[in-house]
Symmetry: C3
Subunit: 153 residues, 3 copies
């Protein structure tokens, strides 16, 4: 087991297999040492995390949803590394989209659910640039969608 996956196991997390693409896009593209991962929607093994933050979900529930997106990003990253996620050099950038009411203002606290998890799991290489905004709406009605760029060795 890789060092990163051992740490994830300590955190109670097993990376899911990456779903086969349902369309003409793919979970990730590797260019040189950069990995571009498709937007990951909030979901667990129990199903999708749905709803608008600020109405259907609290900020804390939104943050928990954002963490599941980050787990999805790591799962795709592992696949991009041919299974060896220890090839990660660092998380470069996230863009986090929150499905919220128009007057919601705590997007950073929601996306912190992803950022905090990445640093908890990956240490310094988990620190990243990011943007946190609300979308007008999200696929299937999920609460959060996050895309990521990673550097690998």
């Amino acid at each position: 087991m890789s060092a990163i996956e051992a740490r994830l196991k300590e955190l109670g997390i097993t990376l899911p297999d990456v779903a086969a693409p349902a369309a003409n896009y793919v979970p990730y593209v590797v260019v040189g040492d950069m990995v571009y991962v498709s937007g990951q929607i909030s979901m667990t093994s129990e199903g999708l995390t749905l709803g608008k933050v600020g109405a259907d979900l609290t900020t804390e529930e939104g943050a928990a949803a954002a963490k599941t997106c980050a787990i999805g990003l790591l799962a795709a990253l592992k696949a991009a590394c041919d299974g060896d996620i220890d090839r990660l050099v660092r998380v470069v950038k996230l863009v986090g989209f929150v499905n919220s009411t128009p007057d919601f203002t705590d997007q950073p606290k929601v996306i912190n659910g992803a950022s905090d998890f990445l640093v908890e799991a990956l240490g310094e290489k988990g620190r990243h640039a990011r943007s946190a905004v609300s979308a007008g709406a999200l696929p299937l009605g999920v609460a959060v969608e996050i895309e990521g760029i990673f550097q690998i060795a």
Copy 2:
């Protein structure tokens, strides 16, 4: 005629000339072998494709609008390649913004209009990472805006 443009011709598509920039931004920037293309809004030679998907436009009409954004991306890409679009190595990533009602949930089906076209036109090198979200609103009231990153030789 390049191989890609010959294929586009089979699909009934001629790439438009890239509009001169109307402001202090440009249609694309090339850094090394990467091309960053500005967000392309839904339009045809007939004019802009306007409206909110889920209210003014159906999902299918939204997908048709997304295809026109992808054509705009290829037109900018051709210019970035000094006219030789066969220099394309692969489509790396799209971010698709849908102008929709707040309760719309079929953003992936809308942006598939772009993804499906790119694979139809470009084959395997058309497959890409992507995010599909709704915007709160879009420039001029267009239905879709898509930005792209491409790798060229």
Copy 3:
């Protein structure tokens, strides 16, 4: 004083120090010659520029807010360059998110506040690819958030 900072001084602008990160993300990440800067929200030394463009703010006020985001991007860029912002090769791409009403359509004019400033301050190396969209809502209720990618030497 660097040439770029001398030019900024002519424009009456002093780059602020970059705020220490309040969370597990960082203001910028450098990968090779590329700098990814986190989304900068509209603010001045007087405080945040708040409100929805099209309701609380005019398009012109939105453009002024966008300019403050661009100043924030340059401040982070300077830090990424270890203080020597003249290492900038060019501004590569911006994504500008406008906090607007759902029927607002002048996102490009708002984000021009950033694009025009960058070219005024940086000349040709200030020209960039970009996307301009509305967000559903923005952090703390700010009017504009802009993220950027830069190439440095």
